[in-house]
């Protein structure tokens, strides 16, 4: 009884998502008659940006994941006083608005950043430029290394303590232990982590926009935006968008074939301590890696805070355009998060009721629809919608609705990922009880689900909220003087080189995202403890 009644809303939402995506893709097809990937490939410029998208994503992945392995390994066996704080910081680079991160990096590594200033004191010039490939790689490593390290650390923690005890008893060396015990465990997780990081870098938009510095370092994602907004070449925009779908789709299928994802849990604090044969060399080795990652993550974040407290502070926070942008950001984030949570929850109700009766195949497909955005990047959807609505209405008048919808869609995979496992477990535990008590609908949700999985629900909401608040890819196309969110405002300030004002906005966006994210986590974990 209970199973049937829950499938319909989820199916309707799934249908709605399909319709939404199909509408925007067909608008793209309509604008690019005779889509021919071969022709696209023959054009030297398109070939270059395609190659560059792959090249920078490949290098970013190698660097981020490659460096994350020794970092995760070092963190797995060391305990120091700020470790849990560091791990929390790691969690935040995923939700840190890209532009804020880029701003922090610029003030450390930029042409007039801290390093350049230090060098200037000894009459040296900065030996590299942050614009172009260097900067893109640096930013991608900054964002993805901590994320990858956290995932790998999690899988290292899944090694049974007996294995650690055994290797300790046998007295095997560090290298052999890594090779025999830890590596096999990491290797299982690696394709998934690499795939994820690769996709994130491949579709990277804000980073490349802020640090690209010309046609030489342009990704397909950015070229779509440029074709429409710079060249007013709608056909090229549509063509590139379809090209992006094709490439991302093939990548996603490829990645799925090779990897088995491990759910990302939110536990960072407690893990068991295990014995191993420590020595001086191992200590130095580990501290080297831990200091490396500290040096990568801390200075840019610190600079965001230091730079933000400047003389322009008062004038920025008293300007109406700032409050306007803040208000828009909140509106977008709150609606997008609610819609994503709502949609994700109902789709999972459907998929889990199928799972409970053993139709995993259908459930997988349904959950795949919810993660459709990973294959069709946000900018592609926005482009399609833009073209679709352009002839019907004043697109810029509807901008906020579109931005919310696209952001909700972009947050949906995170909601699904966070809630799928807990919701299934609740159902397995309580379904029969609920059926026998005649509990269903809202009372079941309130009495059972909410109490049991409050924490993941709040986590999913806060992650959606913060991601939508920091997103630039949907607003970039639709934003205007009338509709500005904080990230767009920050981009405009960076664009007109008002660095001091940009620093203040960065600080605000930083405090808001990280603050909201950690506050919500804190509250929900406290409640759980009671």
């Amino acid at each position: 009884m209970s199973a049937k009644s829950y499938t319909l809303p989820g199916l309707i939402i799934a249908g709605f998502i399909c319709l939404f995506v199909a509408a925007s893709v067909s608008a793209l097809l309509f604008y690019s008659p005779g889509f021919n990937p071969a022709l696209l490939w023959q054009d030297a410029y398109y070939r270059h940006i395609t190659k560059f998208s792959f090249y920078q994503a490949f290098l970013s992945t190698i660097l981020s994941v490659g460096l994350a392995i020794p970092v995760a390994h070092a963190l797995s066996r060391r305990h120091f006083f700020a470790k849990s704080f560091l791990l929390k910081l790691f969690a935040t680079t995923l939700v840190l608005p890209v532009l804020v991160g880029v701003f922090g990096l610029l003030s450390v590594y930029g042409n007039s950043g801290q390093i350049a200033q230090l060098l200037a004191m000894v009459d040296q010039k900065l030996p590299f430029s942050i614009y172009g490939l260097n900067g893109i790689l640096l930013a991608h490593v900054f964002f993805n290394l901590p994320f990858a390290a956290r995932l790998l650390l999690q899988s290292l923690h899944s090694i049974p303590s007996e294995h650690h005890q055994l290797s300790s008893h046998l007295g095997i060396s560090h290298w052999n232990k890594f090779k025999l015990v830890e590596w096999p465990c990491l290797r299982q997780q690696l394709p998934h982590v690499c795939g994820l990081v690769f996709m994130l870098c491949f579709t990277s938009f804000a980073t490349v926009m802020a640090l690209g510095g010309g046609p030489k370092s342009t990704t397909i994602e950015l070229a779509i935006y440029q074709a429409i907004k710079f060249d007013f070449d709608l056909q090229a925009g549509a063509l590139l968008a379809l090209w992006q779908i094709l490439l991302c789709g093939s990548l996603a299928i490829g990645i799925q074939r090779f990897s088995r994802p491990i759910p990302l849990t939110n536990t960072t604090g407690k893990q068991s301590f295990y014995l191993f044969n420590d020595n001086r060399a191992a200590k130095i080795w580990d501290s080297l890696w831990i200091s490396l990652v500290l040096f990568l993550v801390i200075p840019p974040l610190l600079m965001i805070v230091i730079n933000g407290l400047n003389a322009k502070f008062i004038s920025v926070i008293s300007s109406p355009s700032f409050w306007d942008a803040l208000q828009n950001s909140f509106l977008v984030a709150i609606f997008a998060a609610f819609i994503a949570l709502f949609a994700g929850f109902f789709m999972l109700l459907t998929s889990r009721s199928w799972r409970l009766v053993g139709i995993d195949f259908k459930a997988d497909k349904l959950e795949l629809i919810a993660t459709i955005i990973l294959v069709t990047p946000g900018l592609v959807i926005s482009t399609g919608l833009f073209l679709l609505l352009r002839n019907i209405t004043d697109v810029f008048g509807f901008a906020i609705v579109i931005v919310i919808a696209v952001n909700a869609l972009m947050a949906l995979p995170y909601v699904i990922k966070t809630l799928a496992q807990p919701m299934l477990q609740v159902a397995q535990q309580y379904d029969q009880l609920c059926a026998s008590l005649g509990l269903f609908g809202f009372s079941r949700f309130y009495l059972i689900e909410w109490r049991a999985i409050k924490r993941p629900i709040i986590h999913a909401f806060s992650i959606s909220f913060v991601l939508s608040m920091g997103d630039l890819s949907a607003i970039a196309l639709f934003g205007s003087q009338d509709l500005r969110t904080l990230p767009l405002y920050l981009l405009q300030l960076l664009g007109s080189y008002q660095m001091e004002s940009a620093a203040v906005v960065s600080l605000f966006l930083f405090i808001l995202s990280i603050g909201i994210f950690s506050a919500v986590e804190q509250i929900s974990s406290q409640n759980n403890a009671h």
Partner: protein, 328 residues
């Protein structure tokens, strides 16, 4: 889903035109900003029109045109101010612009003015600006800068979004012809970054991020008059300099036709024109008195520009040439 309905209604309401007389002018940010001529022009125009004038500031000249094309007939703009001679044909082709009724007989440009869609509001010559204190021997020609000087780095603007960027593209095309792609490749080696608009490039230059920046031969006047600084100068190139005439036009879908006409006529008035030299740091298009600082500026020995038709026919191909030269 219920929550989205009031929001949709809300967004429809805020997108409705305001009924009071308001003239919306799309322009570029350095024109509209506090340090540009915008505020004074707003004040002067509002004084005798019983209306309000609103500037919508976009990145740069070409983005004004792109914005109009994106919005099509639903645009909120009544006036576009900040396109230039190179974009006139292309802008006319959109079919979104109306003819003006302004008498342009007092325009003092070299060949007068006869266009019936656009009204010129200022003009100038593209130039590379440098700091005399840090760059002691500036290049004497475009060819010297591009081919010989390895010690100089530059910042310029994207020709897809900015009128100076487009100007440099045409300048290089004029000087190099078929060898333009080669010239771009050489220039790429000394390019710090390509910016979206003029403001960004110029402020990066002032912060010391590059030796030279693409700007105008009149830019040093700003430093002389507004800041009392004499160290900035525009390099004089022996090949000659590309001329830019900045223009304004009325949008066909404007709901305030009368007000728009009034503004178009205001552009060639002495009041507007005398704000150009020290507001927009360009030459006025009518015979108004130039301030003192302008008299010390270098004036290019030769100046030239392609016809608007020629630019329109080739812009896409030439931009692609620029893009393709930069990727190797």
């Amino acid at each position: 889903m219920k929550k989205i309905i009031p929001l949709m209604a809300f967004s429809v309401i805020i997108s409705m035109p305001v009924l009071a007389d308001k003239l919306v002018v799309y322009t570029y940010d350095s024109f509209a900003s506090d340090w540009g001529p915008g505020p004074k022009i707003k004040q002067a125009f509002e004084k005798n029109c019983a209306c309000s004038l609103e500037f919508v500031a976009l990145d740069d000249g070409v983005s004004i045109l792109n914005r109009l094309r994106l919005e099509g007939k639903n645009t909120k703009a009544d006036i576009l101010l900040g396109l230039d001679n190179n974009l006139m044909t292309e802008a006319k082709k959109t079919g979104l612009l109306a003819k003006h009724k302004v008498d342009t007989s007092n325009v003092i440009l070299a060949n007068g003015w006869s266009d019936n869609t656009f009204v010129p509001f200022d003009y100038g010559y593209f130039s590379f600006v440098y700091n005399k204190e840090t760059l002691l021997n500036p290049p004497a020609s475009l060819k010297e800068l591009i081919e010989q000087r390895q010690d100089i780095n530059v910042i310029y603007q994207d020709p897809r979004t900015s009128t100076p960027g487009l100007g440099l593209m045409l300048w290089i095309k004029w000087v190099y012809g078929d060898q333009a792609d080669d010239a771009w490749k050489k220039l790429a080696k000394k390019t710090v970054t390509v910016t979206k608009g003029w403001s960004e490039a110029y402020s990066m230059f002032l912060k010391g991020e590059a030796d030279m920046v693409l700007s105008y031969s009149t830019s040093p006047a700003y430093h002389i008059i507004a800041e009392g600084k004499n160290q900035y100068a525009a390099a004089n190139f022996s090949e000659g300099h590309y001329t830019q005439v900045e223009v304004a036009a009325k949008v066909k879908s404007s709901k305030n036709e009368k007000l728009a006409d009034k503004f178009m006529a205001f552009i060639v008035s002495d009041e507007f024109q005398s704000l150009m030299p020290t507001g927009n740091w360009m030459y006025p298009v009518t015979d108004v008195a130039l301030p003192e600082g302008f008299k010390n500026l270098t004036i290019p020995s030769t100046s030239f520009s392609f016809s608007a038709d020629k630019v329109d026919n080739n812009r896409k191909v030439w931009i692609r040439e620029w893009q393709s030269s930069l990727i190797y």
